[in-house]
């Protein structure tokens, strides 16, 4: 489904701020794979997501999604195939527009936008049903401005918007990190329900190792711009948080050794 091959990215190349964020990433996902991605701050998780979404151009390598070469497509064109939820609840919705308008914008992802009505009556009925399933009572407030919603409500709405038109790949970048524990739990459950229930292919970045193990069928660990660990199926299910911590130790020890080599 998703084939990432030899993707590298260096920010601010040739300046003092040069930062190698991704090195020769290779990652293949099967249809229906639900991958959780973990790794320390600055490991390159968000950058990897942004490469797939086309937020910045990549330095080299290719990205194919469902047979389509995305490598040089602009962000708005790739969006036709992708669903995205961001860490910041403010980023995924238009605050000054109504809930139903936001949904209608999302429902038209990848379609030409013309002079037909922005929201039709049939759509409203559909959105009412979809919102009801979130269980947050938003179906009663469809004409309310999204800016009035709480962070958790906005994140749930963004998740619905990302999946309203079935994406080939769903990208979730720490989408529960800004929420209180209870709301985060709720949004995570919704995510699992939607992704597993509809057999979506998804990548989810999280800092919660328990969640990373419990959710999805595959786990990827990143460190310093590389994928250092990739497990799936039964092996993943058997993982313990302690195993992951050990892996982290191993990776950061390696990094430390590198630093020492540089210094000596």
């Amino acid at each position: 489904m998703l084939k990432i091959s030899h993707v590298s990215k260096t920010f601010n190349k040739g300046t003092v701020n040069e930062k190698k964020a991704l090195t020769d990433i290779r990652l293949h996902l099967e249809k229906g794979d639900f991958v959780t991605i973990i790794g320390g701050n600055g490991a390159g998780k968000s950058t990897l997501m942004n490469m797939v979404a086309g937020v910045y151009p990549m330095d080299c390598g290719t990205i194919f999604l469902d047979g389509v070469n995305l490598s040089r497509e602009p962000e708005y064109k790739r969006a036709a195939l992708l669903g995205r939820v961001f860490q910041d609840p403010m980023m995924g919705t238009a605050a000054s527009m109504q809930i139903e308008e936001n949904l209608a914008l999302a429902a038209r992802r990848g379609r030409r936008r013309g002079l037909r009505w922005g929201v039709t009556r049939e759509e409203r009925a559909r959105y009412h049903e979809e919102l009801k399933r979130l269980g947050l009572g938003l179906e009663e407030r469809m004409t309310a401005k999204v800016g009035l919603l709480s962070g958790g409500q906005r994140q749930a709405l963004t998740l619905l918007m990302a999946t309203l038109k079935e994406p080939k790949l769903l990208l979730l970048d720490e989408h529960t990190a800004a929420l209180d524990p209870k709301t985060a739990r709720k949004v995570l459950e919704l995510t699992d329900e939607i992704v597993t229930g509809r057999h979506l292919t998804a990548m989810m970045v999280t800092h919660n190792m328990k969640d990373a193990i419990a959710i999805g069928n595959r786990l990827v660990m990143m460190s310093e711009g590389r994928i250092i660990y990739d497990v799936k199926g039964e092996e993943k299910k058997r993982l313990k948080v302690a195993d992951l911590l050990a892996k982290f130790e191993e990776a950061s020890a390696g990094a430390f050794a590198n630093d020492r080599m540089l210094l000596s």
Binding site: A53, P74, E75, Y76, K77, A79, A80, L82, R84, F86, M90, M91, G92, T93, A94, A95, S96, M97, E101, A104, L105, A106, R108, R109, G110, R111, R113, G114, L115, R116, W117, G118, V119, M161
Partner: protein, 308 residues
């Protein structure tokens, strides 16, 4: 009628014609969240194109207004390209277009001022046709055009395309991640906005009887004044159609203020300063009032203590 009443009636007619420019500025300033300074240039472009077409080429006044609007859209398109494709900051992109248009306008008219002599302006035709006074005609004709535009804008921003432009102005990141080509929508918005500004420029110059390369000076500030006065008077919490109408109301009130101070003996040379002060006051008043309110309501005692 007293001099003051006549002045106010004239002000309303002017207010509505300039209000059309206010609608255009509202599109960029409030919907797209871009401060577009091309406006000073495109307002004059509208007038100059219209004058050149009518006086030099003998064109029908309605057709001339239409083509002037198209010229304004082209200018907005240029600003849009500079801003999006060339990534020049919006303010600077607008200033570049504005500066360039000064020369363009001089070229179009071949001089700095063109009176509408020996040609029938829309307003003259209407005065002759209806027998009403010039100020009534400009008020009525202005209202017809302005309210038709409000209707069209209300419809347009309810469509898929209009919604996409609104989303682009509200949250570009969201717009792109939902597959919208935000550059295209910004260019489109700037073109539509400047089209309306040039339309207003063409009507205003026909109304005042001449076009001048300097007629757009300070137009952006006058437009902002109209928007802000309208918001202060009719409030933020109205629906979209009322927000557009409030721009027209704001524009009329601005013209009445101008008419009154002119009657009181201020010279037209002082108007620019007056406008600048007015806009600065209107922009800062809500901020200052809020600060005062907060300072006044602060107390060292906790809430419960105070209420106990």
């Amino acid at each position: 009628m007293s001099g003051m009443m006549l002045a106010i009636q004239g002000a309303l007619g002017q207010g509505i014609l300039w209000g059309i420019m206010g609608l255009g500025i509202y599109l960029t300033f409030r919907i797209l969240d871009i401060a577009d300074l091309s406006v000073d240039g495109t307002f004059a472009l509208g007038g100059c194109t219209c004058a050149a077409l009518m006086v030099r080429a003998g064109m029908d006044p309605y057709l001339a207004v239409l083509l002037s609007t198209a010229a304004g859209m082209a200018a907005g398109f240029v600003t849009g390209i500079l801003y999006t494709k060339c990534e020049i900051p919006a303010i600077l992109a607008g200033i570049l277009t504005q500066l360039g248009l000064y020369s363009v306008n001089l070229r179009i008219m071949d001089k700095s001022n063109t009176p509408f002599l020996k040609v029938d302006t829309i307003f003259k035709q209407l005065v002759d046709g209806t027998g009403l006074s010039q100020s009534w005609v400009s008020l009525l004709a202005g209202c017809v055009v302005a309210f038709a535009l409000v209707g069209v804008l209300y419809w347009f921003f309810g469509t898929e395309l209009g919604s996409a432009i609104r989303a682009t102005g509200t949250n570009e990141n969201m717009a792109r991640s939902q597959g919208m080509n935000t550059n295209t929508y910004k260019i489109l918005g700037l073109a539509l906005s400047n089209g309306m500004v040039a339309l207003s420029g063409a009507l205003v110059s026909q109304h005042q009887g001449y076009a001048d390369v300097k007629q757009g000076m300070g137009a952006i500030v006058i437009g902002l004044a109209s928007i802000i006065i309208g918001e202060v008077i009719l409030g933020h919490k109205t629906n979209f159609a009322m927000k557009l109408v409030s721009v027209l109301v704001g524009s009329c009130i601005y013209r009445i203020i101008v008419a009154v101070v002119l009657q009181l003996g201020l010279s037209t040379d002082d108007l620019k300063l007056l406008t600048a002060v007015l806009v600065a006051l209107a922009l800062s008043a809500p901020v200052l009032l809020e600060k005062r309110r907060r300072a006044a309501s602060y107390s060292e005692a906790g809430e419960e203590e105070r209420h106990a």
